[in-house]
Structure formats: structure tokens, C-alpha cells
């Protein structure tokens, strides 16, 4: 389990961003520890995506994002699994995964045999062999998400960023995808930073959570410390309770105090 004593692989210092005078991110200081899964949670508009996009370098921001050696991260350091990935019409899964090698190629180079081998290995590893020639735009949501993760793995970056990776998937696929990420993290020693909207799921998978609220980092720490009913209720603006079921934290809407008569017999 990650502790604050471990060396950070990624440091954010004073990361801030405003759009039209509104501070979407206001001075985020955050250390990400090697090999940990850091969940980024917070209500809609808290700045989760903006923080991730700042870390990847997709938007100009104030402050610095630096790796352990002080460099700003490049595509060989960070791989992004976007929230709604673009799946080009007619592009095969093999071609899509091969895009992950882009950062390793010089400007006018083509993929070498070594690059093709890496992509092929990732396809096998993620059980995507039978999909290799399928068009990415013909896949189901869960299959597509796996293919996007495969592309990120082909990128061979030590840090994996996921922007609400499961928001478009049903419960079964959500668990699949997150289990997969967790396995990869353990087997490859990846560091995972994931914006997550489902608090219970976040609590199940992450080592630490960073709770964002109105562009500020409210608190960062183990889920059991961060996910406290009062704090969550205030920040999410709705009454929430936190329960422990079979040892896992579960965040639920608090029972309604006054419910309409016709609903009285229903289960909570």
C-alpha cells in the first residue's frame, strides 16, 4: 500500500486553470506515488477531467506537472484512456492498438517490426486476438474500452491515466474493465490515476482518493479517511451515507426523511 513516504513518480504543483474568469482548477498540489492507484473523485464540474487533461498536457495551465526527474511528462511517460474515445470508422483493432506506438516513432518513421510485435503481444494479452481485424467502430462498449486500454498499454508508459473509464458501460463491463486495469497495474508495476464518478467503485479499487471540489483539492488519502458521510454529503450537495459491507466501503444516498405517501411501501 502506498504511503506518503514513497517517492512520487509525478508531482503537481500549483496546477491551476481558468476558463472565462472561472477557476476550474485552483492551485492543485498533488504527489502521485509509484505503483499506486490514485482515484480522482468529485461532483460534476469539480475539475477532474481538467486536472487529468492538465497532467497529460492537453491544455495550457499554470503551475507545473513534473516527473520524478523534473521533466514534464511526455507520451512515453503517460498513456491516456479518454472518457469518450474516438473510434475511427473502418479502422481495425490491430491498427488502433498500433497507434499506441506513435510516441516511440520519429517524425517520419513507420512502425518497425518490434512495434508491431509489441502491439500483437498486447492484443494477445488482453484476449483481443479474435478482434484484431474487426473495425473499432463495430465493437460493443465493453470491447471498445478494452481496445482503448490495449492502445494505452502499447504506448508502454509507466503511468496510466483513465478519465472516467467506465461511465458509458453497464455494471458488468465496469467491473471487468477495472479488474483488468488493476491486474495490469500489479503485473506491470503501472501507476494508475483515474477520474471516477462512482464512489463505491472508486473505494473498491483505489489505494488513495483525491477529492476535488470546485477546482480545489479538498483532501487526499485512503478511501476510508476521505469518504466520510458528512464530507461527501456537503460536497455532493445531497445526503449520503457511507456503509461498510463485507469489508468494503459503500456510498449510498441517505434514506429520505419524508417520502411521498405512494412510495412509502417501497424498498430503499
Amino acid at each position: 500500500m502506498a504511503t506518503s513516504a514513497a517517492a512520487p513518480v509525478l508531482q503537481c504543483r500549483g496546477v491551476a486553470k481558468s476558463f472565462g474568469g472561472v477557476d476550474v482548477l485552483a492551485g492543485i498540489d498533488l504527489d502521485v506515488v509509484a505503483g499506486e492507484w490514485l482515484g480522482v473523485i468529485g461532483p460534476n464540474g469539480a475539475g477532474k477531467s481538467t486536472l487529468l487533461r492538465s497532467i497529460v498536457g492537453l491544455i495550457d495551465h499554470e503551475g507545473t506537472v513534473a516527473l520524478a526527474d523534473g521533466r514534464p511528462p511526455a507520451a512515453t511517460d503517460l498513456a491516456l484512456v479518454p472518457q469518450t474515445p474516438e473510434l475511427p470508422q473502418g479502422m481495425s483493432v490491430a491498427e488502433y492498438v498500433l497507434l499506441g506506438r506513435t510516441a516511440h516513432l520519429s517524425w517520419l518513421a513507420r512502425e518497425s517490426r518490434a512495434d508491431r510485435k509489441i502491439a500483437a503481444a498486447v492484443l494477445q494479452r488482453l484476449d483481443l486476438v479474435r478482434f484484431a481485424d474487426r473495425a473499432v467502430d463495430s465493437l460493443s462498449g465493453g470491447e471498445a474500452q478494452r481496445v482503448v486500454i490495449a492502445r494505452a498499454l502499447a504506448q508502454e508508459a509507466p503511468i496510466l491515466l483513465l478519465d472516467e473509464p467506465t461511465s458509458a458501460l453497464d455494471v458488468g463491463y465496469q467491473a471487468d474493465v477495472l479488474e483488468l486495469v488493476d491486474q495490469l497495474r500489479r503485473s506491470d508495476g503501472l501507476t494508475v490515476i483515474a477520474a471516477m464518478h462512482d464512489l463505491t467503485t472508486a473505494a473498491r479499487f483505489v489505494d488513495r482518493v483525491a477529492l476535488l471540489h470546485r477546482g480545489r483539492l479538498e483532501i487526499v488519502g485512503p478511501a476510508s479517511e476521505v469518504m466520510v458521510a458528512d464530507r461527501l454529503s456537503t460536497i455532493y450537495g445531497t445526503p449520503l451515507t457511507v456503509r461498510r459491507i463485507d469489508g468494503e466501503l459503500v456510498v449510498l444516498s441517505a434514506p429520505r426523511k419524508s417520502r411521498p405517501i405512494h412510495d412509502a411501501g417501497g424498498s430503499s
Binding site: R53, V56, G57, L58, A74, A75, T76, L78, A79, L80, P82, P85, E86, P88, Q89, G90, M91, S92, A94, E95, V97, L98, L99, G100, T102, A103, H104, L105, L108, R110, E111, R113, R116, K117, A119, A120, A121, V122, L123, Q124, R125, L126, D127, V129, A132, D133, Q155, D176, E179, L180, D182, Q183, S187, A203, R204, F205, V206, D207, A223, E248
Partner: protein
């Protein structure tokens, strides 16, 4: 937080892990990979398209007012290769028709068609819009306006080995494509904005052209106008010498960047996250495609739809990958325009139709079909 390690659906994936990524120390260059077929331009497709190009070349060389026999044409061609002597049935006069009229015209058609096909493919790639085309983006009209100023008014911004007409055409082309792209980035843009912006630019530059033509005396205006209509009339090899270097250089640049066009298909954000600088790629490709269009326009006038139709057909028949579309659009564009030009000079023989009229007759309905089918908005 610990996760139970026996996650059922992924057990299989885990087994593969050790064998797939860990192994592979031996030299196994001949082992087939799952990714071997990715982005590959098949030899069959290249061979077929070159075959079509050759056939079109033969048709083009042998058809026209003075019919030339196929055998004689082939014999003369082989005879023209240094160190090879072969008897041809063509008379001296027929040979001069072949080498001074037919072949230059065929070659010009191929070069112009190839340029427009390739430029169209490149624009479709960088703008992520399958309906982008030099004509629709206003690039051709911009180039046309520049060329009218150079041809009709003697505007000379040529520099070094670069002639005045292509230079002026290039300035017009870049102005138009920049304006269209700027409109497409405005706050109210959607995928169709680029094309509508192109329509606006095309209208603006066409109006400017018309105004410029009005200011010319009648004879000069008629000359410039007949050029503007789009024609491949060439006396000798001048047009080829003018266009050739642009095709080699700009075509080379576009060909070299074809991988970038495939990366750009996932959008700018993802492309950047994958490690490509999308703005830089786009800039290089737009400049090369616009220069190529400008050069083509300055020798042949405005020929519409080649840049739209050709990459589309390649995409429909062969592949969505720009690594395939870019080179094949060059070959297929050359074959298409050279073939259409045979029609232009035979349909109403002994007089001629401007080839741009025929490409529009073919391309207009094709474009309408694409719109009807609803392929317009997807990249």
C-alpha cells in the same frame, strides 16, 4: 484496498501475459504477427491501379482526331527508350502527334489528376472530413484568383525558379484554406462549417475572379476564361515541366506524412496524448496540399470533384487508412482525369469540352449521393 485475485472473466488474459510479452528472444522475423496486416497497402491494389493507369494511358494515346494504332504507339514508345531500336508503323507526322500532343496531354492529365486526388485525400485527413476537397475548401478558387491576377495582369511574385502563376496561385490557395479553417474553428462550428466556410470562400474568390476578368480586354479575358474552365490543352511538355517538381516535392511530403493522417483520425486531443503534435502535422500537410493544388490549378485551371471522388472511391473499395488512400488516390486520380480527358476531346469532336465540365458531370451526382447517404459528418 485489496481486490480478489480470482477475477473470473480475465483469467484467460492473464495466462497470455507471460507467453506473449515475456517470450520472443529468438530471431523470429518470419513469424506472422496479428498486426502484420495493419495499415498495409496491398501489392495487389497497387498493381491493379497501375494496370488501370497504363490502360488509360494507352486509350488516351490512341484516341482522338487522328487515330493512332495501338501497335504503332507501343512500338514508337519502346523505340524512344535509349539504346532500343524497333520499327514502328507510325509515320513521322503521327509520331509527332504522339510525342508533341498526345503524350504530353496524357501525362498532364495524370499529373493534375494525381495531384488533385492526393491533395483531396490530404485535406480529408487533416480536416477529418470526408467531403473536404480542394474545390470545396475554396482552395481552387483562391488559387484561380491568384492565377488570374498573374496571367491577366502580369502580377509577378515569382521567386527564383518559381514561376509567377503558381506563386500567385499558391498565395490565393493558402489565403482561402486558412480562411476556411478559421471559420471552421469559430465558436459556432460543426463538421459542416468547414465546407460551408469553403463555399463562402469559393464564392468570394470566384467573385474576385469575375471582377478581375471584367477589367481585362476581351481577347485577354477570353484566354484567361478558357484556361479557368479547366482544360489540359498543352503545347508540348511545358505544363509537365512546370507541375512535375511540385508533384515530386509536395507529393513526397504528403506521402511521408500519411501515417500522421491516420493518427489524426482519433482527433487532436488523443493524437497529442499519443505523442503527435497535431498542429505541426496539420500545418505541413495543408501547406503541401495547397501548394500542390495551386500548381495543378496554374497549369490546368479549375477542375472540380477529382479530389473528392477519387479518395472516396479508394476508401469505399480498398481501405479507410490514409496510408492506403494517399498513394492510391495519386494513382487513381491520374487514371481518372486522363480517362475523363479522353471523353473531353472525343465526345464533341472535332471541338473539345473543358475537362472540368466532365468531372463536374461525374462528381456532382456522386457528391449528391454522398450527402444523401449521410456520410457527410463522419471523419
Amino acid at each position: 484496498m485489496n481486490v480478489s485475485p480470482d477475477a473470473a472473466p480475465l483469467g484467460a488474459a492473464r495466462e497470455h501475459a507471460s507467453s506473449a510479452i515475456g517470450g520472443g528472444g529468438a530471431a523470429d522475423a518470419d513469424v506472422a504477427l496479428l498486426t502484420d496486416g495493419a495499415y498495409r497497402l496491398s501489392r495487389t491494389a497497387v498493381a491493379m491501379s497501375l494496370l488501370v493507369l497504363t490502360l488509360v494511358g494507352l486509350i488516351s494515346a490512341t484516341s482522338g482526331a487522328a487515330g493512332l494504332p495501338v501497335g504503332g504507339v507501343l512500338a514508337s514508345l519502346i523505340d524512344s527508350i535509349p539504346l532500343i531500336e524497333i520499327e514502328s508503323s507510325l509515320s513521322t507526322r503521327q509520331e509527332s502527334v504522339l510525342f508533341q500532343i498526345r503524350l504530353p496531354r496524357m501525362a498532364l492529365g495524370m499529373l493534375v489528376g494525381g495531384s488533385l486526388g492526393m491533395a483531396g485525400a490530404a485535406y480529408q485527413g487533416v480536416f477529418r472530413n470526408p467531403l473536404a476537397d480542394p474545390y470545396f475548401l475554396g482552395v481552387s478558387a483562391g488559387a484561380g484568383f491568384g492565377a488570374v491576377l498573374a496571367l491577366g495582369f502580369g502580377l509577378d511574385i515569382g521567386w527564383g525558379p518559381i514561376d509567377a502563376v503558381p506563386a500567385a496561385a499558391f498565395v490565393g490557395a493558402i489565403l482561402a484554406v486558412t480562411a476556411s479553417a478559421t471559420i471552421a474553428r469559430g465558436p459556432g462550428s460543426s463538421p459542416s462549417t468547414l465546407l460551408l466556410g469553403g463555399v463562402a470562400m469559393a464564392a468570394l474568390f470566384s467573385a474576385a475572379q469575375t471582377y478581375a476578368l471584367q477589367r481585362l480586354d476581351e481577347t485577354r479575358a477570353r484566354e484567361v476564361l478558357s484556361w479557368l474552365f479547366g482544360q489540359l490543352n498543352t503545347s508540348g511538355w511545358d505544363g509537365i515541366y512546370l507541375l512535375g517538381p511540385y508533384v515530386v516535392i509536395c507529393g513526397g511530403v504528403l506521402f511521408a506524412h500519411r501515417r500522421h493522417l491516420d493518427v489524426l483520425r482519433v482527433g487532436d486531443d488523443e493524437a497529442r496524448a499519443l505523442g503527435l503534435d497535431p498542429a505541426r502535422s496539420r500545418m505541413i500537410v495543408i501547406v503541401a496540399a495547397s501548394l500542390l493544388t495551386a500548381a495543378a490549378v496554374s497549369v490546368s485551371g479549375l477542375i472540380a470533384f477529382v479530389g473528392l471522388v477519387v479518395p472516396h472511391i479508394v476508401r469505399l473499395i480498398i481501405s479507410h487508412s490514409y496510408r492506403v488512400i494517399v498513394p492510391l488516390s495519386a494513382i487513381a486520380g491520374g487514371a481518372f482525369l486522363a480517362f475523363v480527358d479522353v471523353g473531353a476531346r472525343t465526345v464533341v469532336a472535332p471541338s473539345e469540352l473543358p475537362v472540368g465540365v466532365i468531372t463536374a458531370f461525374v462528381g456532382g451526382p456522386f457528391f449528391a449521393f454522398l450527402l444523401w447517404r449521410g456520410n457527410g459528418a463522419k471523419a
